[in-house]
C-alpha cells in the first residue's frame, strides 16, 4: 500500500517535470525562430523551406516534401513585410496568395508525389519571381527540366550548380540544365 502511494507520487512528480521541461523548450524554440527580422519570416526562410521540398523531391520522398510544404506555408503566413517597398509588397501579396496554396497542397499529399510535383512546378515559378523581386539572400540556380509534364518542361531553383532533378527524381536525377544564375 505504502509502495503504491510512493509510486503514484513519483509518477505524478515525473509528469509535472516533463511537462514543465517541454514548456520551456517550446518557449525557447519560438524565441529562437522569431529572433531574426523583427518577429516575422523573411525571403531567407522561404528559400530554405522551398529547398527543403526540392531536395525531398529529388529523393522521391513525398513525406519529407510534405514536411517542407507545411513549414513553407507557415513561413508565408507570418512573413514580415515591414522592410519591403510598396512595389515589393504588391509583388509579395500577389505571390503569397498563390504560393501558400501550393505549399499547403504539397503538405497534405505526402502519398501522392506526382501531385506534389505538379504543385511544385507552379510554386517554383512563384518563388523564382519572389527571389527576383526581393533577392534570395544566397546564390541560386534556376534550372530547367525539358522532359517533365509531357515534354512541356518545368523549372526549379537550386542552391547547387550540379543538377539534381526534383521532377523525375531518382529515375533521371541529372536531367536538366542551369538556365540562370541568380546572385
Amino acid at each position: 500500500m505504502g509502495l503504491a502511494v510512493m509510486v503514484i507520487a513519483l509518477t505524478a512528480c515525473n509528469n509535472s517535470n516533463t511537462k514543465e521541461e517541454k514548456k520551456t523548450n517550446d518557449t525557447a524554440n519560438t524565441a529562437a525562430m522569431a529572433a531574426p527580422v523583427t518577429g516575422g519570416s523573411s525571403v531567407k526562410d522561404v528559400v530554405e523551406h522551398y529547398l527543403h521540398i526540392k531536395n525531398a523531391l529529388t529523393k522521391d520522398d513525398g513525406k519529407e516534401a510534405a514536411n517542407g510544404g507545411k513549414a513553407l506555408a507557415d513561413v508565408f503566413g507570418k512573413f514580415d513585410q515591414s522592410s519591403l517597398t510598396a512595389e515589393q509588397k504588391k509583388t509579395f501579396t500577389d505571390i503569397q496568395a498563390d504560393a501558400k496554396e501550393h505549399a499547403e497542397h504539397i503538405s497534405v499529399n505526402a502519398e501522392k508525389i506526382a501531385h506534389q510535383r505538379e504543385h511544385f512546378a507552379t510554386l517554383s515559378k512563384d518563388v523564382y519571381d519572389l527571389v527576383k523581386s526581393l533577392g534570395g539572400g544566397q546564390t541560386l540556380y534556376n534550372d530547367f527540366c525539358p522532359m517533365y509534364n509531357n515534354n512541356k518542361g518545368a523549372t526549379w531553383l537550386s542552391e547547387t550548380k550540379d543538377i539534381k532533378n526534383p521532377y523525375l527524381g531518382k529515375a533521371m536525377p541529372t536531367c536538366g540544365n542551369v538556365k540562370e544564375t541568380i546572385q
Binding site: D94, A97, D98, E101, H102, A114, H115, T122, D126
Partner: protein, 154 residues
C-alpha cells in the same frame, strides 16, 4: 430481442430528427460579373462541360439532386461544396489575381489529365459529367488558350 427493437426505434427517431437540420443551400441564383464565363472567352461546348461537371461544387450555384434533402447525405454534399469552392470558385474567378488565375487553370489541366476531377464519386451518380477523351481535349485546349489570353491581359 426487445433491446434490438429499442435500438432500432431510437435510430429511427434520430434519423427523423436530423431531417430537420438542413444546411443552407448553395444557390445565389445569379451569375456574378466575376464568373469565369464573363471573365474569359468560353465556347458553348466547354461551357456545357463546366456547368455539368464542375459548377455543382465549384460555383455559387449548385444544381441539387432530390436526395440532398435526405440527411445526412445533404450534409456530406454540403461539405464537398464548401471544400470545392474554397479550392476553386468559378463564380469568383474574375476576382482572383492574374497569377492565381493562371495557376488555377494549370491545376484544372492537371486534374483533368490525371482523372482527379470530376471526382469518381460524383461521376458515379452524375453519369453525364464523365469526361470522354474528346471532352478532355476540349478542356485542355481551352485551358491553353485561356492562359495565353490571361497573360496578355496582364
Amino acid at each position: 430481442m426487445r433491446l434490438a427493437k429499442k435500438i432500432a426505434l431510437l435510430l429511427l427517431v434520430i434519423l427523423i430528427a436530423i431531417q430537420f437540420i438542413q444546411p443552407a443551400r448553395n444557390k445565389s441564383g445569379q451569375v456574378l460579373p466575376t464568373d469565369i464565363l464573363r471573365t474569359v472567352p468560353v465556347s458553348p461546348a466547354v461551357r456545357a462541360l463546366l456547368k455539368t461537371g464542375c459548377y455543382d461544387c465549384h460555383s455559387n450555384n449548385t444544381n441539387y439532386p432530390w436526395y440532398a434533402n435526405v440527411q445526412p447525405i445533404g450534409w456530406i454534399l454540403n461539405g464537398h461544396i464548401q471544400k470545392g469552392k474554397a479550392e476553386l470558385n468559378f463564380s469568383e474567378f474574375g476576382s482572383y489575381t492574374v497569377r492565381r488565375q493562371k495557376s488555377k487553370m494549370k491545376s484544372i489541366e492537371s486534374q483533368v489529365n490525371d482523372n482527379g476531377m470530376p471526382l469518381a464519386s460524383y461521376t458515379w451518380i452524375h453519369k453525364n459529367a464523365r469526361l470522354s477523351k474528346e471532352n478532355k481535349v476540349l478542356i485542355i485546349d481551352w485551358v491553353t488558350k485561356t492562359n495565353e489570353a490571361i497573360s496578355t491581359k496582364q
